[in-house]
């Protein structure tokens, strides 16, 4: 059976690429510290020696639209192009190309459907910055095949937070039951408190530092019960109007397991939002 070599959860800040590649007067004052933190975080994936990456993210109205909106979708394609014109325009992100792992996509779809998750699928998916940003931070070589998993954290009505957790638990079980000798890293990105297009956007910190402090504690300690008790679809509007992206962190807590402490935790208080990085190494996995 396949091995889950690492479970990784983080924010996906679209400005990292530009900040880390800028020079001279264009280089923001926080860039060096940010690059150093990303370098250490990247090492947590490298040392797990993965063969395949399952990547959980959320399309930001790039390919997926309100006329046909899946709640959970698995990409099943031999390759994925990455980033869209308006992400190049706003964030300076590069066009990318990533190989796909169709066999594992097919396995997750078939077994996921049979386990009670009515997963949508896509045979031609262009991945956006929710997946390309963690590739840039964690595996910029983009040499490993991926299985993209998209969630709807963006367009109400959305699934309940507990459903994200359940899907994360199912993804963990399914990967561990995949008849393969490959080492799989499961990587997902979301948000802490975040405001986009509202009065609290682009402040000196995230819009709700107290929520961020609690959220980092929940994730780092694997405290799924407190996270589930502490948030609801309604309450997630309060820390910031884009904070439903926290449900992707909850999905990753489901992957990591109830009350399983992260082996690596780091954060960076940036303007606009707090960055947070977590890695778990499943017990007994050689690394």
């Amino acid at each position: 059976m396949a091995t889950v070599a690492a479970v990784i959860a983080s924010t996906h800040h679209p400005f990292f690429y530009r900040a880390s590649t800028s020079t001279g007067a264009d280089r923001p004052p926080f860039a060096d510290e940010w690059v150093a933190k990303i370098g250490a975080f990247r090492e947590t994936l490298t040392r797990a020696r993965p063969d395949v990456l399952v990547m959980v993210g959320s399309d930001h109205f790039h390919q997926i639209w309100l006329d046909n909106m899946p709640q959970f979708l698995v990409g099943k394609a031999p390759a994925y192009d990455g980033n869209f014109y308006n992400e190049e325009r706003e964030f300076g992100l590069p066009r990318m190309f990533v190989p796909g792992h169709e066999e594992l996509s097919g396995y997750l779809l078939r077994q996921g459907l049979d386990a009670g998750f009515d997963l949508a699928f896509s045979n031609e998916l262009r991945i956006d910055h929710s997946i390309t940003c963690p590739l840039i931070t964690l595996r910029p070589e983009t040499d490993l095949p991926i299985v993209p998993v998209y969630t709807n954290i963006f367009a109400p009505p959305m699934p309940q937070p507990k459903r994200f957790v359940q899907l994360g638990q199912a993804i963990r079980e399914l990967v561990e039951s995949w008849p393969s000798e490959q080492r799989v890293a499961i990587i997902g990105t979301g948000h802490l408190s975040l405001e986009l297009g509202g009065p609290r956007q682009f402040g000196p910190h995230g819009p709700d530092p107290e929520f961020d402090r609690k959220a980092v504690e929940w994730i780092a300690s694997g405290d799924l019960d407190s996270a589930l008790a502490g948030v609801s679809l309604d309450s997630l509007w309060e820390p910031g109007n884009a904070t439903h992206g926290f449900m992707d962190f909850m999905l990753m807590m489901g992957v990591a397991g109830r009350n399983v402490k992260a082996d690596y935790t780091d954060s960076l208080d940036l303007f606009h939002t707090m960055e947070a990085y977590f890695t778990w190494y499943p017990a007994g996995v050689a690394k």
Partner: protein, 120 residues
């Protein structure tokens, strides 16, 4: 009330560099053309396939035609779509990084949670 159609306008303009410039230069004309010619196209279908019922309310049409992102927020347009498109339209007019985004926030400063519902 046609939040979906307002979002469809923001979405289809934001993804097209020619339309972004056209909307910046001539908002009222672009909105009129788009509502007449584009609003009922079913995206990802054969170009002959159209809906028959989609139209803006007067308030929605006016908000889009006057680049009024504060009014769009009040109408429940999707916050991400509005922000992204308006950054593309106006960030270039500001010298300081993020100056437009901060002005955008300040102009919405009279709002507190709960914000207008963005559900469609």
């Amino acid at each position: 009330m046609s939040k979906y159609l307002v979002n469809k306008f923001l979405y289809t303009v934001d993804r097209d560099p020619v339309l972004v410039e056209r909307y910046r230069a001539d908002p009222r004309g672009t909105v009129a053309w788009w509502e007449a010619e584009q609003a009922n196209l079913i995206l990802n279908c054969h170009s002959g396939e159209r809906s028959t019922w989609l139209a803006f309310t007067g308030a929605e049409r006016d908000a889009l035609a006057s680049h009024d992102y504060v009014a769009l927020f009040g109408l429940g347009a999707h916050n991400f779509l509005t922000l992204t498109l308006f950054i593309a339209l106006f960030e270039r007019d500001y010298e300081e990084p993020l100056a437009f985004q901060r002005e955008y926030a300040a102009r919405l400063g009279h709002w507190t949670v709960p914000y207008p519902d963005i559900s469609t």
